[in-house]
Amino acid sequence: MAILNLNAEIVYVFINLAILLLLMKKFLFGPVTKMLDERSKEIADTIDGANAKMDQANQTKQEYEAHLQNAKLEAQAIVDDAKKRGQQEYELQLEKARADIARMQAAAQKQAEADRAAMLEGARKEIAMLALLAASKVSQQKMNAEADRALADAFLAEVEEHA
């Protein structure tokens, strides 16, 4: 019973505070701090996960780009190859065709020459025959002016007939 009392009753304060501390630890600071920690951990995990996914996506993108580049180069190579081969084939065919034409031309020329030779030969034979014929006619008939003209005419007619 005093205004400034400092006595053994201070023990109540120690006990009360200890009890309050335990209760607060158990019901307020413990669970709430745990929850806050869990939440910040979850947020950190989520951000880390997102970053990892982003990195992976970037890597995949780069891979795809590299693949695409390769594919483009390959396609270009194939097209070039095909063009080259086509050109080669074309030139080969052209060469063949030229050779054929040349061969055919040569054959035709040869044929023509042979024909001409044969014709000349025939003509020569015929002229010779005619000459012989004419000679025999001349030898059989006595020739006078009239007869000469008739003979020549007949000969010419014969020639014309033959021609």
């Binding site: 019973m1 005093a2 205004i3 109540y12 120690f14 607060m24 019901f27 600071f29 669970p31 869990e38």
Partner: protein, 226 residues
């Protein structure tokens, strides 16, 4: 003469009742008030933190704000050891704020009892030096008394007594004085007038003193374990 007697009566630290054991153990009023406050704050804490979820509701937000505030305060001043001390300092803070404001729910503030402020100060100093020896080790804790220079060692030793005394007396003086003033005001003008004055002397000063007590304890603690 009438006023003096009334005031003296109001200022007495009364015994609420006696436990009829060993010839009667007296239970002071302040202890009963503390029990009521402890019960209230425990019920409130359970209500705020039951059924906690990752996505907080409004109740949980309040609890998280309170605990987050205390945790951050301790992180700022104690660094890596905040986890150990946040509950202690938080408990001091909660108890002091409620004790200083208990006038509003018609309970005589327990902090008007010198035993209570002395006990609080003693526990705060126990925490400060206990933490120092626990974290620094026995040698490190002793070495703390010779910092920053061995010349100041006597002062550091004196501080063991000065710190709790100042904490205790500051708190007791403020609460006691505001209690005296409010009693006088109530005797002179029992209606209307005490309301704004009570807001200042009980609410504002009470909260300030609670903050000062916890803040000083945290500073001393931070100094002792750094």
């Amino acid at each position: 003469m009438d006023i003096k007697e009334e005031l003296t009566a109001a200022l007495q630290s009364k015994t609420a009742f006696e436990i009829p054991l060993f010839g009667g153990i007296p239970v002071p009023e302040s202890a009963v008030a503390s029990w009521i406050l402890i019960a209230l704050v425990t019920v409130a804490a359970i209500w705020l933190t039951h059924d906690m979820k990752k996505v907080p509701g409004r109740r949980q937000m309040v609890a998280e704000m309170l605990v987050g505030f205390i945790n951050n305060f301790c992180k700022d001043h104690l660094g890596e050891h905040w986890r150990t001390f946040a509950p202690y300092l938080g408990t001091f803070g909660i108890y002091l704020v409620l004790a200083n404001l208990s006038e509003f729910i018609g309970i005589t503030p327990p902090t008007k009892d010198l035993n209570v402020t002395a006990g609080l100060a003693f526990m705060a100093v126990l925490l400060i030096y206990g933490a120092s020896f626990k974290i620094k080790g026995f040698k490190g804790g002793l070495h703390k008394f010779a910092e920053p220079s061995p010349i100041v060692a006597p002062l550091n030793i004196l501080e063991i007594g000065i710190r709790p005394l100042s904490l205790c007396m500051r708190l007791f003086g403020n609460v006691f004085a505001s209690f005296v003033i409010m009693e006088l005001v109530k005797i002179v003008a029992p209606v209307i007038v005490p309301i704004p004055l009570s807001l200042y002397f009980d609410a504002f000063d009470g909260i300030i003193q609670a903050v000062v007590f916890v803040f000083l304890t945290t500073l001393f603690l931070g100094e002792s374990i750094e």
